[in-house]
Amino acid sequence: MPVTSVVSSDGKIRTIKIGGRFDFAVQTEFRECYCHTRPEDNVKFIVDLSGANYMDSSALGMLLMMREYLGGNAANITLTNSSQDIKSILTVANFQTLFSMA
């Protein structure tokens, strides 16, 4: 499974790990990882990109959709472990203004 999700024991932190290509093909699986959480649950999401070797603009779109679903500004999403390439894609798009980066 290119997209996996684990949740902490108290249910407050959910980590989504992307493996391989982060593009439109994983749209449904990615959405599955967050669409059962409600904005008011105040779950912190971590998107772990360490396994991702490719990311395109449709992936940026998926991240935006996730953020909007989880409450927009109220959403707590951190993007972690991006490779140089992916980091530069996120930086050029200035996504650090919308997501925490780690």
Binding site: S57, S58, L60, G61, M62, L64, M65, E68, S88, T91, V92, A93, N94, F95, T97, L98
Partner: protein, 588 residues
Amino acid sequence: MGESQPSVPAPADNFEGKLALGAQSIKVLVVEDDLPNRFILQAILQKQGYEVIHAENGQEAVDLFQRDRPDLVLMDIKMPVMDGYEATKRIKAMSGDVFVPVIFLTATSEKDGLVKCVESGGDDFLTKPYNPVLLQARIDALMRIRDLYSTVHRQRDELAQHQKRLDRERMLAKRLFTNIVNNGSLDRPNIKYMLSPMSLFSGDILLAAPKPSGGLHAMLGDFTGHGLAAATGALPVSSIFYGMTAKGYSIGEIVAEINIKLRTILPIDMFLAACVVDMDHVTHKLSVWNGGIPVAVIYGAREKEIVRRIHSRHLPLGIVDDDTFNRRVDVFDMREGDRLYICSDGLTEAQNPHGEMFGIGRLEALFETNREPESLFEEIRASLADFQAGRKQQDDVTLLEIAYEQAVLEDTVGWTEAAQGHNVVPPATWSLNLQLGADIIRHLDPLPVILQSMADLQGFRGQRQYLHTVFSELYTNALDHGVLALSSHRKKTAEGFAEYYREREVRLANLKQGFVNFRISHAPHAAGGELVIRLEDSGPGFDFNSSPPTLDENRGNSGRGIQLLRSMCERITYFGAGNIVEVVYRWR
């Protein structure tokens, strides 16, 4: 094509139901020259509810098949006139796409005979003595296969139709897109560009337009969200870009407007990465708003290398609300011959036949090794073509080069006219008054509104560039030196310039009182018209009776100022404390 489909709905879920339905309308052709055998088969089949027709030899079978198009054939092998093998071959050929199973009736299970049955196209065998249950089971199985075949063919045909329609729509969209978006506006001596066919389809747009009083705006945009985002967004974006540029709006205002529009019409996961520039030949500056475009650089003519990199500082357009939107632009100096390059990631991600990407390294190397700036664009194009040689797939490569050439940037009359279209109104008598208080001065540039109203009233074809300059000078003086009481002497140095504008921003933001009133009247005059423009500002005025040098220092700005107004207008007169100015502008 006689497709003999049983007129039944899609296969029922239960086996019995299927049996019942199937048996009702299936037509079986029995080809058997031995009468007793034929009777036995006929009896079994009819008892099971099948409709039966019969033939005595291969030729009759073929003829009957042609005429009656049975759903299934039971074929004997040894027959006079034409045997079962030949008849089967012909029947299979005739049925084409429709699957008509042929069950061979054999008396033996000899290997050779069976092989020949299969080779002729037969689908199954039945040996004597005929077992009715076995026969029924086999017929049902074959009918299920037949249904499967017909479903697949139907879906294939539907798909082909869809595909054809999609292709047609895509072609149409591309044509519309090109007509609407390009508009011939990139056809300028100082502009070079690459916009491959795939680019348009994948959502890259390239726009350029003259500013009313010279210089230009340009934009390279990259829609995400597949062709759909581009199809939805391209028209409003280009419309806003061209419209607002023609009216004299700044690029900050233009991107803010586009952002609102796209935020409204596109879903959250679709947006427009864009780099919008303002190349101004008066201030020798390039203003840039870059949201999401990775490659934008200035190539120095003198240095023959990249002198400035224009980083993407903003989120792409269509993501955040207007209140969060940042319209700040970066400003860069440009000298004669310097070149601006912007490209989409289609260029850096263009692949060769081995799947390697062109990459930013290769592009930078080209900038580095170039000796003749004039041919740099061609060098990039050639290098890309070489790199991609042999690759079948088209990539969406979009590249824009704009050279800072004073003469070309100044000369926008022809360009402007083409962009504005025809608008001839005979000179008429009208007047326009506008009183602007501090509140509105603080947050709005009134010139586009005024100029547009005037254009709506009188057209002013061919004049707009000059009128924009005149109004710009008058209003800047009235606002900066009158209402904001700024002194222009600081503008004589580069740092002073920056200081001046910083101070101006501060004073403008804190403005609580003040006004600028416009009184504009127009009447026919000779072969054209005469425009009298009167501005009154709430400032202290100045001593306009003293000699011209003082005039320029206090009221003019470094550069053109009053001299320019004098050259364009019939006369300039000051009234009151010097806070009222009136110019007369004549046109033909």
